[in-house]
Amino acid sequence: MPFNLLVLACLTYVIFLFLVAFLAERRAERGRARWLRSPLVYTLSLSIYCTAWTFYGAVGYAARSGLEYLTIYLGPTLVFVGWWWVLRKLVRIGRTERVTSIADMISSRYGKSNALGVIVTMICVVAATPYIALQLQSVTLSFGVFAQPGTYAWMIPDTNSTALWVAGGLALFTILFGTRNLDANEQHTGVVAAIAVEAVVKLVALVTVGIFVVWVVADGPVDIAARINASAIADWDLVPSRWAGLTFLSAAAVITLPRMFQVLVVENSDERFLGTASWAFPLYLLAMSLFVVPIAVVGLGLLPVGANPDLFVLTVPLSQGQGGLAMLAFLGGFSSATSMVIVASIALATMVSNHIVMPLWLRLRPAKSVSGDVRRLVLMSRRLSIAAVLGLGYLYFALSGGSAALAAIGLISFVGVAQMLPAMLGGIFWRGATRIGAAAGLLIGFVVWAYTLFLPSFGPGAILPLDVFLNGPFGIGWLRPRALFGVEGMDPLIHALFWSLSFNTAAFTIGSLLSFPTPIERAQGLAFVYVFDTERAELRGWGDGLAEPESLLIMAQRILGDEPALTFFEEQARAQGKAGYLPDPSPAFLAALERQLAGSVGAAAAHAMISELAGRARVTVDDLMRVADETAQIMEYSSQLESQRAELERTARQLREANEKLTQLSVQKDAFLSQISHELRTPMTSIRAFSEIMMEGGMPEGMPEKYAGIIHEEAIRLTRLLDDLLDLSVLENGTVQLDLKLANLSELLDRSLRAAAQTRPERDFLIHRDLPAEAIFLRTDPDRLAQVFINLISNSRKYCDATRPELRIVVRQRGGRVLVDFIDNGSGIPKDKQALIFEKFARLTDQTRAGGAGLGLAICREVMANLGGTITYLPGQGGAAFRVSMPLRLEKPPLAEAA
């Protein structure tokens, strides 16, 4: 097989993956991705557990250590079959708390402590970097097999450049599809789809090679069995301590590996998928492990003695002249490596960005207020983190130069991440677990792991001097890294696993028992341990009414983006029984908002931001009271009462709002008559006075013409007022005749801007438009719609008080509706007036004589109702902002039927 052809196939495959990811993202954006979020895809995405290490390495492992490789599959199988309830709890917590990573989960559980987030992030980065290096190495090695046919040993052509290309390509893919959206709970559809495809490719590849080996190279299962008996694998003896230790280790790893946590918890879109995964994932693992021994045995028999068993999957087909099959096997290995690296770097980058970059930025930024576009900053920091994580992996690979046994690095990494197990399981099952305990356990476990396993893995003399191995540091014999406390003769891996987890668990337990949890920790502990008891989860959190909803909205917009934030606030307001975009800052709302933000920036940062705005950076007496009350947890039966009370409160609020509205309406009705009188009498005064003057005669030259002009002008003003009133009455009664036709939105806006320019023509307005977005054909009454646009633009020209006035016109399509926002940079409309501006004669400052009678927005509202749309005021846009929303195609006048 020519090397160039291989590179070509590889590129084609990568382009294919890009396409899969791209199309999946596209479908997801259009909301047609149901099958992309299915139990099948979820299960397949879990297969990133099987990296290149398991794809190539398992065969090598079997060739060296017999059936021991099975432990790597046994652990996850036990977890998925037997510990299903633990996974379900993790997934439920992940979804309710909007957890973004394993670091976020542990930080969130222990009082949203960022210190813990940093510790976990560090452990994960240190443990995962060699693992990523390992994947780069496997791709490089497998390239090498093809580049130099006939050699079965370690031959790597220009190692660094291959690895560099792979790392660069993966960084590009991950950044493109891993950081398109912010909110972790709804993202990465493209990545998950690509990974599911890769999962199928690697399974098909390994099974095909297996079938080839069993039925083509050998003469079927019986022959294979005979070969196994004849080979060295048959002599392998089970070492119970290693067997149990490795099974336990892989069981721990499947829930603590950052990438597994990412696909298992963060990317999970439906808890029920776990049900399918609990049997389908073990089945997948079984299929992956089925042919490992046959391939190993045949490889040992076929290939020369020095051949690297880690590459048997490739070299066996190659030695038989099966170039195509070898290519398939290569793509399988390539898939295993790339999918692991992609998910691992997304998971690590999220942690680095949320727990290190964001908190640093929050502390260092100059202004105290939440300023600047946090969204862009978060995305940028994630992108840089991805590049940094892959860069580290590449560096490790380039510096270590590739070490001989693939499996060794994998297991070392497993022990590293297993250090999170006590803090994680303790956190979700033991309310007494505290931050101090978790930090102590994690740190001690990490140090012991590094000292007994990670650093020695570089070899004696590399980092730890040879003398330390033989005699211990400073000659202290019982501190030798491979024989702590004089325990000799133990397998180094099991030795490290045993001591690190023992110290870890002991420190965690003792630290938790001796320290006292903070109120937030207690509350989070409750929420995690009793996650299935939802009512209780609502009880913790924020005090009442300290935060200004508008500033919360502004902050949320910066993090979630304008539209999602507005939609979220609108939903929350509606749930409280309020109209508009600004819900009351109730504890329930603040808790919901915090969870929403946590999905983007992590729990600790979200908590800090809301604390700042809610003016509650420190714990108050109120919190302590709440925690004290928590002992009186007779809440079990009161949960029903709670929901009834909430229902009553909602009804009462709606009634209160209705009543307020009625009272206002009655006042307005009186005011309306008085206003009409005023608006009619004012022009009449001039008309009467000047006509009387003219009747008396005897005026100087030119005066009669001037006064007649005034009379004429005032008469027109009267007519216009009467026209407006009539227009309003027709619109309100729904008897208006609509002239429906197709109209180009962009042209309508042009026309409206031209017409509105007559209002205060001396003002020079900077208009921002998005012409491509405006290229929409609407079916509506264009004249009526233009009337609304003109009114809004004229209002802006009249009332926008900025020295350099600007008007932004933003057009969006959402479903079958078109949204047009008019946003200026003036001081906007005060909150208490926002509900009133659409009422008749509701000129804000009664005195302003700048224009009409204050009927404009009332008419706009009625016009939009007739066009099947709405007009609303958008708070928190940094100026006066109005949103006009209408159907893309208005089929028939919605109000005409009633008329």
Binding site: S674, S677, H678, R681, T682, M684, T685, S686, I687, R688, A689, F690, E692, I693, I710, E713, E714, T845, D846, Q847, T848, R849
Partner: protein, 123 residues
């Protein structure tokens, strides 16, 4: 002696009509379109008569009237209140605030001039 009337009215056409009528009587007329500066102007220029519209930009006519009445220097100053609303409530409010005379818009020129003259004690 020339009488000096200060007119505080934001509708330019109405102000123009009133200025014409009073000029024709031989009076000097100062017009202001904004309520915010009215009080200071009255103190500075000490007119013989103030004609005050009820609804003004800057500050309402009622407020201006109240502060004029609260100050002994202007407590006795003749003030004619104009309003286009013409409701009983407005009239009462104006009288409570101390308006010397209340005139509803639209008015007859003859009545208006007669009222202004009577406030100044001009026959």
């Amino acid at each position: 002696m020339t009488h000096h009337a200060m007119l505080i009215e934001d509708e330019p056409n109405i102000a123009e009509a009133i200025r014409f009528l009073l000029n024709r009587e031989g009076w000097q007329v100062t017009t202001l379109g904004d309520g915010g500066v009215a009080e200071a102007e009255v103190r500075a220029r000490r007119p013989d008569l103030v004609i005050l519209d009820l609804m003004l930009p800057g500050r309402s006519g009622l407020e201006i009237l109240q502060s004029l009445r609260a100050d002994p220097a202007t407590a006795e100053l003749p003030v004619m209140m104009l309003t286009a609303k013409g409701q009983g409530r407005d009239r009462e409010a104006a009288e409570r605030a101390g308006a010397s005379l209340f005139m509803a818009k639209p008015f007859s020129n003859t009545e208006f001039v007669a009222a202004a003259r009577s406030l100044l004690g001009v026959a």
